[in-house]
Amino acid sequence: MSHIATIKTALKDIAAIKAAGAEFGMVFNENKTVCHYYSNQTVPSTHTFTVNGTKMEVGLVLQPDGTYTVVADDMLLYEGNQPYNRTRFGCATNPLANSMGGFMQRYAVCKTEIEARKKGWMCKRVAQGAKMQVHVTGM
């Protein structure tokens, strides 16, 4: 090993954002500037995701520095035993995970694969418990 770098992930690549959302079964709505959340309320957004099983959406808001922040109803963001999460997503816990951590994780994996393939490198996903690894070779 030569070096280890730690990176705080920033959402800035729409292609990787789309790919990560697709892995959660979410449908990307480009340039949808109104994000719906609980009880037909809305919040401004740049793009949104339609979330399977609910009318509520996950919104992406472009910031001046070129990164995106996520806006969504608490129901979509918090992991736990709340029955509404199970109902909304049809599974035991919110797949997006606490504060969208699961989405950030998947985004980072997708972004790594996109960047590696731009250089003609090969990628292989390897599960490491709750962590996800991408092994990049071919350089």
Binding site: M1, A5, K119
Partner: protein, 61 residues
């Protein structure tokens, strides 16, 4: 074999490790990836980082 291992934690934090590189080649290989992922918060050099080829001394003979 040169390999870049990207480990992503549950909160999305990324750790990028390189294996099989010697010297600064590892940094050149990962620089674009590190920049693309977000903001670098820490970087540690491994012993191999200093295993650059030593310049050959010329005796002039």
């Amino acid at each position: 074999m040169k390999t870049i291992i990207v480990t992503v934690a549950e909160n999305g934090e990324v750790e990028i490790e390189t294996t099989g590189f010697k010297g600064k080649a590892c940094e050149a290989a990962t620089a674009a990836l590190e920049k693309a992922m977000g903001v670098k918060t820490n970087s540690k050099k491994k012993p191999e980082y200093r295993a650059e080829e030593k310049p050959r001394l010329s005796t002039g003979n």
